[in-house]
Amino acid sequence: MSTLVDLFSYVAIGAGAIFFLAGTVGLLRFPDTLTRLHALTKADNLGLGLVVLGLLPHVAGVLPALKLIAIWLLVLLSGADASQLIARAARRGEPRSRPGP
């Protein structure tokens, strides 16, 4: 039982770590602000979700579990909104930071 749960955690957290890696690679490789933003938000939010998923079996009680999920939802909510606001700011103010035609 506990090995099965642990296996689940290993897989989920490992996968989450890979998403963080992907997000960072995207940040480093993508050419302009908007695509970098895209890479960051998508990959890291998924990564955090997987980490939370992997940690869920390890917390004692319902409240901590709920808190974990709430953290992820909060980050998703703010991430989605903030990234859109940032994207808007980027489009409005910085034509040069986008790639040329």
Binding site: F20, L55, V59, L74, A82, E94
Partner: protein, 95 residues
């Protein structure tokens, strides 16, 4: 398990550090504004993993606070960064 969790936390932090290098270089403010986002997800993941590794449940509350306020910082960036923010200040093309 604790070793693995700590390792994962260290790895995520290293990713955050690499990402920060890119973000802080700019050239525009919009890139820099992603810093709060990056730490919001990466920093929280590292905290949760580290907390689980040392078996301290209360770290979850720290992450919760961070999750709330990372959003707050992002919004502050957007609200106050001047819309006509130029690129890097040492950029000669600036007119």
């Amino acid at each position: 398990m604790a070793e693995f969790l700590l390792g994962a936390a260290g790895f995520v932090l290293a990713m955050v550090a690499l990402g920060l290098v890119r973000i802080l270089r700019g050239p525009g403010d919009a890139d820099r504004m992603m810093a709060a986002q990056l730490l919001g997800s990466g920093g929280i993941a590292a905290l949760l993993l580290g907390g689980a590794a040392i078996g301290d449940d209360t770290v979850v509350d720290v992450s919760l606070t961070l999750a709330l306020l990372a959003a707050f910082a992002s919004i502050a960036f957007v609200q106050f960064a001047p819309p006509s923010s130029p690129g890097a200040p040492d950029d000669e093309e600036r007119t």
